[in-house]
Symmetry: C2
Subunit: 152 residues, 2 copies
DNA sequence: GGATCGAATGAGATATTGTATCTTATAGGG
DNA sequence: CCCTATAAGATACAATATCTCATTCGATCC
């Protein structure tokens, strides 16, 4: 388990935290970005860009193209408002946008539910192991496919 | 670095090791599978299924469809003859097919070259952290994006 | 006010990656 | 030699990702 505690935002307060974080990076908090973030945050599983495009299209009652969503998701990932789950080709909202971690995703192959844990000892270990091999780690990807507690 | 040493196969001897390993699993070593394995082993970077389809098409001088390649790659992954690099949607041949590890990929974002290390302490740590969160780890995915020694 | 510039988004095409289904070929066991 | 199971071919399609160019909208400057 991560040995530390975050204030986990949810609902309105999460949206506000995200807005604040994005603005702090000198980026705009537009209607479109708000819609993408809120749609993303409402999914209880990692959502693909197309899932989000569909959700946002409903929300705004007009068709939103995938490329717009990809652009915004890329921005969210670089500003730590969202994370990409590589092994699922999908995205999740970051519940504590202000806080930077190498996070570890646990993805249930049965129900698709994904949780994430932080473990600085492990992620540091991965970075160190890379460094020992002469490799400069920029972005560790640590994901575990398996079975969650409720699917046992 | 991994704290242990494998006999790393290469060229003909790697092909033979792969053939042996596949047969030991009760699977056939067909011309097609051999062609896919050899094409895969010749790439110095992770290869996509379509890259491989193209290479095999040249090698056999007839068009090989992607789905055949996917079928064979899936087989190779389940029999540990190859591994999938999730963050690159690509595959690499396993240089020591008889030996089972949770491996750690180091993928250079500059040149694409990918190496892999084994570190049982880390992969066990990841599995344990998952277990501590009530999650049954089946397949850890540990990959590091960054910059390799020669691209510094 | 109008000209201009840059950031954000729209529109659509296209590229890439992955699956499903149905048919045909072929290897091995009776 | 025939039967069956496995492998591979053919084709269509679905899902994911990127590219190019056009448009919109503020902000700024004149």
């Amino acid at each position: 388990m991560g040995a530390h505690h975050h204030h986990l935002h949810e609902g309105e307060s999460l949206r506000e935290a995200a807005e604040h974080q994005l603005k702090a990076r000198g980026e705009q908090w537009t209607e479109m970005r708000a819609a993408v973030f809120e749609a993303l945050a409402e999914f209880d599983k990692p959502a693909s860009a197309y899932d989000i495009a569909e959700a946002v299209s409903k929300r705004l009652d007009r068709r939103i193209a995938a490329n717009s969503v990809y652009r915004i998701l890329d921005l969210f990932v670089t500003t730590n408002l969202a994370m990409r789950v590589e092994s699922a080709n999908a995205y999740v909202a970051n519940a504590h946008p202000g806080c930077l971690h190498d996070c570890i995703f646990l993805i249930c192959d049965t129900c698709g539910t994904t949780s994430h844990i932080d473990n600085d000892k492990l992620s540091t270990g991965v970075r160190d192991a890379a460094a020992a091999a002469g490799f400069e780690a920029v972005r560790p990807v640590i994901e575990v496919r398996g079975k969650c507690g409720t699917c046992d």
